[in-house]
Symmetry: C2
Subunit: 227 residues, 2 copies
């Protein structure tokens, strides 16, 4: 039995309430003997379940089944083109606006730059099968662009361009529900006052902020994940 086998058997016992929530399960050594594997193999299996939030492990105290399991769902944050193509539709995008602009206060706070700092403002419409799929508003720190030159983004979307040309970065993401403004509705081809699914994402490296994006998906859009 490999580590996945051990994991599945432990999972079965948790689900089957052989080991109910809150209960301390046998130690790695004991399980290794029971399953006839090395302790390292048991460790790998239990570590995996702990990372998934089903077990809580503490040195000396042992391993117990999580009382209130904070399940961890993993979202795949993909590039919009991938998302559209995964639906079997043809991807396209149009740059609506592209200029230098002082960032709004909210964006400045989110990215940690001085208020009034000048960044590249981009407004883009992403298309799926020729129809509006998502409306994007983005502020981009030109300091991180190689050579300080802002590309046209007419062939490659800013998202994709950044992924391929700027260092891998960390960031945070916020999802919310809002009402489309009339301008946003017009861009997305929906009526004003219809609900939009908003994704806001701030990205930065250790050295500098990179970009803040606000992405709007029209009614019917669903973000899916498995637990």
């Amino acid at each position: 039995m490999g580590w996945e086998g051990v994991r599945d058997e432990v999972l079965r016992r948790i689900r089957g309430r052989v080991w109910p929530p809150g209960e301390v399960i046998p130690g790695e050594e004991a399980l290794a003997v029971e399953f006839g594997v090395a302790r390292a193999t048991v460790n790998r299996a239990l570590r995996d379940l702990a990372e998934a939030g089903l077990l809580e492990r503490r040195r000396k105290a042992g391993t117990r089944v999580a009382l209130l399991p904070v399940r961890k769902a993993t979202l795949d944050i993909s590039i919009i083109r991938q998302e559209v193509e995964a639906r079997g539709e043809v991807y396209g995008h149009r740059v609506l606006e592209r200029r230098m602009e002082a960032v709004p206060l909210a964006v400045a706070l989110r990215l940690g730059v001085a208020r009034g700092a000048r960044m590249c403002f981009l407004e883009t419409l992403h298309l799926a099968g020729g129809r509006p799929f998502a409306h994007e508003v983005r502020w981009l720190n030109i300091a991180v662009l190689p050579g300080g030159v802002v590309p046209e983004f007419d062939r490659l979307s800013a998202n994709e361009w950044l992924v391929q040309n700027v260092a891998y970065a960390t960031g945070d993401i916020e999802f919310s529900a809002e009402l489309a403004t009339s301008a946003e509705a017009a861009a997305l081809g929906i009526r004003a006052g219809e609900p939009v699914f908003v994704t806001e994402r701030a990205t930065w490296t250790a050295e500098a902020p990179i970009t803040f994006v606000r992405l709007l998906h029209g009614p019917g859009y669903r973000l899916r994940t498995m637990v």
Copy 2:
């Protein structure tokens, strides 16, 4: 240097484009020699980065920096009470409805039960500091309840009760933006036509479907995650 040290150094090289996207990085053996650690230690570090979506690993082909990194953001799916208490507010909940009902077609499809199957219908309001926080509509398979008896859910919310009394389960989650109906708006204390953040979650075990929940958060609610 431990495995986290190796991971951080590799991450630094990826971010610093020492190893640009698409490039094959040195093999585990070579890195182990360079860093002065065992191959298992390098393996642990690279595996971690691969799980995060930054590296792509294939036997024989080697390890390369992801060209289009599908970043994996982990959402912590917690119990609503925890979420409210994490905001420093007092949690409460009220059961609005509780009856047996034939499931709507959409729910039947989502849970994989026969259309028209009878399940327990629950309508609940979650409160934060006495004010409406989320509106919950739930269908619950009574077959999975120990003894087939439906609890009152007046002390413990259905969510929490299920976590503690029914086997750990798998499921899927969908997030979307919708407009509140007048009934929903009334329950949440908002105006009809305001946008709501919708979380729909289906849960089941290998044996049977457990529950389908539709959770509505009013305007201002934000789902946050880090990448």
